[in-house]
């Protein structure tokens, strides 16, 4: 029986599908609960109550929202490019899902434990921009188009510094395998020696997911709702789910790169009793909390400020820090030996 | 690995970047002159590094330093240095004194040095692109002037096409010989009988791409327009150093890895050479604009230089090197005089603007006369000796036809060179030019002296060229 799942192609296929469902199921529930958590946290920060009518503490609110979305009519504007218009939200959603294939939840617990895992994540996250551009263009409407342009420029700009941050981490690890990256943090989490890079990475993930204070592509006060003005019902819901799943993905990336993935803090007794996946989830939740916290605290950037931060502050700084880290590793002979 | 082989190139590119940083942070009104001065300093130091370099092959056979590359590099550095000095004054008047100008020249120089040291098709291509890209930008440097922008764009589009041809040739040669390295290619083609026709096609494409860079017929079409439109110091620059680099590269390429296929490419070079000489001398006759005239003249000169290559012997290569050396100085001097043709702060470019220069500015008229006589190949000026070495090499190989055509076209060419002298000394004087700045006087004086007195001390130059040619023909 075990042999069937490890050697037979169909067995492997079935096993992979099951593994994928095991990851995606909880992920979708988490996304749903995240929308509620976000509203609750923001309410707390703004001294309000937040949703509290549907179910105990408003816990069923996300499901009520989902049902509402499903019941609505899908509207396709005249003059819109029908195929692309419907493809865009699916693309966003699918991309947010496939990235999870390489995320290790525990030592070796990944659907695909590939050599270039971090590059895969980076590649998939850089594709997210297509959903937005296609949506903005296919809507054949001016606000979505403006939103799409903003988002294209913004995501491409911040990817550059994100890339440098990732390279810095890779320098310290000597491998692009996500499992190896986490294992390299057994002595110390990278957030401590690479603290500035961790900050840059986190801020770049905010820009990459179009989250406040970099939510210019939506910019509801200027361009209504940016690229998804024209979307309604399920197509809108897919965008929504995709965006939140992307946030989880970015939180998972931050966790893996800087917060030691599934590792318990300090690796000492009381903490190690809790299994790795729980730590992983807790860390993701902490990062997600910061996402919401930032949204409730900071006003939106102006567009030129956003570009200035990306190109004139983050890029030179991350480049400098990359060279510094490389120099330190070389000078002290700490360079990891190539596998 | 002996990375020090490329020390001059490394030093030059690092100093280009350092000057760039200086220019970005310095006060804009001073940065141009200062960075030009720094550039000249960097070129001098690089020349010293070249002189102190030891021969060898490095970087996995991609890069070679030998007497041949030494000769070419020194010549290139001198030519670039003259170009930087010439641009000092012009840039101020044409309102283009931006510090990037000398930096682009330095980077172009790095490209040319890579080209002459290349012993792999990839190094060749990258050096060529580095040089060309810098020159495209330089040609369009006076961006508010329509002609300059047009020149830059034209040069860029045609240059990209030429690069495409070259790359196609490179890929064919790679595909049929199995290697990019000159040594390996040479080994693969040691026996011309088994060499595949694909190789010949590849060589033709590579020669076409390089012929574009040296503006040899039939790839000369861009030359007059670009020469005329580009700012004059840029034209002067384009007419000297890149020509040297491209010719030297062509010679090394054809005689080192493709040496065994002499029979295949010789006719090609002979044809190109004859066509260039004929067009250069005939088309220049009708020109009224002196920059266009110089463009056709340069096409003709490239034709003469190619005779030496067509000869396919050490003597021929020696001739090419001496010819390029004399050509650089004549050309730089002539262009310095053209830059000095300025009335009330405006540059003039007509041949007729020179009328009566013999009376209004005898010194400059004398200099131009020297350069024109030298270009026409009249003894004892240096241009004659360049032609002498080339033609004797051709005659030694029994290429009488080529030598005779060369002499004939020289005679025809002498007509328009001497017409300029006639205009200067026998026509009614036009209003005098503005006073000459010291930088231009320096260039005119230095190249004038070299051109006039070359015949007194040719021995060291000939010996150096001889040693350089020995590298290719042992």
């Amino acid at each position: 029986m075990v042999e069937f799942f490890t050697t037979n192609p169909f067995g492997i296929l079935i096993l992979t599908v099951v593994k994928a469902l095991l990851i995606l199921g909880p992920l979708l529930v988490a996304v749903a609960m995240m929308t509620l958590a976000e509203r609750k946290i923001m309410a707390a920060i703004q001294l309000r109550r937040g949703p509290n009518v549907v179910g105990p503490f408003g816990l069923l609110q996300p499901f009520a929202d989902a049902i509402k979305m499903l019941m609505k009519e899908t509207i396709i504007p005249t003059g819109a490019n029908r195929t692309l218009f419907l493809m865009a939200p699916m693309l966003t959603f699918a991309l947010a899902m496939i990235a999870w294939a390489v995320i290790p939840v525990n030592d070796g617990w990944a659907i695909a434990d590939i050599n270039v895992g971090i590059l895969y994540l980076f590649a998939v996250s850089s594709l997210g921009v297509y959903g937005i551009i296609i949506a903005g263009w296919a809507s054949n409407s001016k606000y979505p188009f403006l939103g799409a342009l903003r988002s294209a420029a913004q995501m491409v700009s911040y990817e550059v510094s994100m890339g440098f941050v990732i390279v810095t981490v890779l320098l310290c690890v000597g491998s692009m395998n996500l499992n190896a990256i986490v294992k390299a943090q057994e002595t110390i989490w990278f957030v401590i020696p690479l603290f500035p890079m961790a900050v840059i990475f986190f801020i770049s993930t905010l820009a990459e997911t179009n989250r406040s204070p970099f939510d210019l592509p939506e910019g509801e006060s200027e361009i209504v709702a940016g690229f998804f003005v024209e979307y309604s019902s399920m197509s809108f819901a897919l965008f929504f789910l995709g965006e939140y799943a992307n946030m989880f993905l970015m939180a998972a990336m931050t966790t893996i790169l800087f917060l030691g993935g599934w590792l318990a803090p300090f690796g000492i007794e009381p903490f190690t009793w809790i299994p790795g996946p729980i730590w992983f989830i807790l860390k993701i939740c902490a990062v997600m909390f910061v996402f919401v916290w930032v949204r409730a605290t900071f006003p939106r950037y102006r567009y030129d400020q956003l570009m200035r931060l990306g190109w004139k502050v983050f890029l030179p700084f991350s480049l400098f820090y990359l060279v510094l880290v490389a120099g330190v590793l070389l000078a002290f002979g700490w360079l990891p030996t190539a596998a | 690995m002996n990375w020090q082989l490329a020390l001059p190139e490394i030093f030059l590119s690092c100093s280009a970047m350092a000057i760039l940083m200086y220019g970005v942070f310095a006060r804009p009104e001073r940065s141009f002159v200062m960075s030009s001065m720094l550039a000249v300093g960097a070129l001098l130091l690089t020349a010293m590094l070249v002189l102190s370099g030891t021969p060898g092959v490095g970087y996995n056979g991609l890069f070679t330093v030998d007497a041949y590359s030494h000769f070419a590099k020194l010549l290139i550095l001198v030519a670039v240095g003259l170009g930087v000095v010439m641009s000092l004054d012009y840039a101020e008047h044409a309102n283009m004194q931006r510090f990037e100008f000398p930096i682009l020249m330095l980077l172009a120089a790095v490209g040319m040095m890579l080209m002459v040291s290349a012993t792999s098709l990839m190094t060749l291509y990258l050096g060529l692109e580095l040089m060309s890209l810098s020159i495209y930008v330089l040609a369009a440097f006076a961006r508010d002037e329509r002609r300059s922008a047009e020149a830059g764009l034209k040069y860029f589009v045609l240059g990209a096409l030429a690069s495409g041809l070259l790359l196609y040739g490179v890929s064919l040669v790679y595909g049929f010989s199995g290697s990019m390295s000159f040594a390996e290619i040479g080994r693969a083609m040691a026996d011309p009988k088994t060499a595949s026709p694909g190789l010949t096609v590849g060589i033709v494409f590579i020669v076409a791409g390089l012929a574009f860079k040296v503006s040899a017929v039939p790839f000369h079409m861009w030359t007059p327009d670009v020469y005329e439109g580009a700012p004059t110091p840029v034209t002067a620059f384009m007419g000297t150093a890149p020509k040297v680099a491209a010719i030297v590269l062509l010679v090394r390429l054809l005689s080192d890895p493709f040496g065994a296929l002499l029979g295949q490419w010789q006719q090609l070079i002979v044809l190109v050479s004859i066509a260039s000489m004929a067009l250069g001398s005939l088309a220049a006759i009708g020109q009224r604009n002196i920059k266009r005239l110089m463009a056709y003249s340069s096409i003709g000169h490239m034709g003469y230089a190619l005779i030496g290559l067509a000869a396919g012997t050490g003597a021929g290569v020696r001739g090419v090197l001496i010819y390029m050396l004399t050509y650089v100085f004549m050309n730089a001097g002539t262009f310095a005089c053209i830059i000095a043709m300025r009335r009330q702060g405006r540059n003039v470019e007509g041949v007729s603007d020179l009328s009566g220069l013999g009376r209004t500015d005898p010194a400059m008229a004398l200099a131009i006369a020297i350069f024109m006589f030298s270009m026409a190949g009249i003894p004892p000026f240096s241009g004659f000796w360049g032609k002498y070495f080339i033609f004797t090499a051709a005659v030694q190989q029994g290429m009488w036809l080529l030598a005779v055509i060369g002499v004939l076209t020289s005679v025809i060419g002498a007509f328009y060179y001497i017409r300029i002298i006639k205009v200067m000394y026998f026509d009614e004087p036009a209003p005098a030019f503005d006073p000459r700045p010291a930088s231009l006087s320096f260039v005119v004086g230095a190249s004038g002296l070299f051109t006039t007195f070359f015949f007194l001390f040719p021995a060291p130059v000939v010996a150096a060229a001889e040693a350089a040619a020995k590298v290719l023909f042992r």
């Binding site: 192609p9 590939i114 050599n115 270039v116 590059l119 895969y120 980076f122 590649a123 850089s126 594709l127 921009v129 551009i133 296609i134 263009w137 799409a148 342009l149 294209a152 420029a153 995501m155 491409v156 990817e159 890339g163 692009m176 190539a338 596998a339 | 490329a6 590119s13 760039l20 970005v24 942070f25 991609l62 890069f63 931006r98 990037e100 930096i103 682009l104 980077l107 790095v110 890579l114 990839m122 190094t123 990258l126 050096g127 692109e129 580095l130 890209l133 810098s134 930008v137 369009a140 440097f141 961006r143 830059g152 064919l172 049929f176 199995g178 990019m180 693969a188 595949s196 694909g198 096609v201």
Partner: protein, 234 residues
Amino acid sequence: MIAQLAFYAFAAILLVSAGMVVSARNPVHSVLYLVLAFFNAAALFLLAGAEFLAMILVIVYVGAVAVLFLFVVMMLDINFAQLREGFQRYLPIGATIGVILLVELGIVLGGWSLAPQSAGLRAVPIDPNVTNTVQIGRVLYTDYILLFQASGLVLLVAMIGAIVLTLRDRTSSRHQSIAAQLARTPADTMELLDVPSGVGTKGIGFLRPKVKEPAKVAQDNHGHIGHDNHGGHH
């Protein structure tokens, strides 16, 4: 078997989408087909075991280059009738040249045989002991370091050229001096006054801004000014 099936599927999609890039009527569709073509090329790389190249292809070409293409193409207003105007006219000569080149290629390829020593001549034989990321690194940064740096210089020249030919110092545009803004404290700009009720501003008069506009800061070449003209607002 599965790998072969996958290969043919990806290769077929690659070819079809490459064809669509050229033939699609809408330029945005062309770019999207191009993206699809890149993807399939990446998949082929993966099948060939070159996972690093595959990912880099997606990151660089799909994630950045094609986005910028799309960005530009979306903003252009291309008239296709106009673009295709010369098509009929140039078709004969274009087709002739194409056919000649094709025949030449055919002749050349017909006489082509792989030399027996060609396998030994391969520039970079694959080393099974290291991952291909490491191997690419070795080739690029050790064997071909000279070319790598030279390409860097080429790109530097391209950058300098783009800046030199297009950058203009606009005196009309307003720049922000972040340092000047951050250096400002409430005490510099605000004054609290007791305004007697019922009098209005008569007794105080109209207050001028407390701080002057910051002097023109000579920052690089652009002549920035700190523009915050709401200093001293009462």
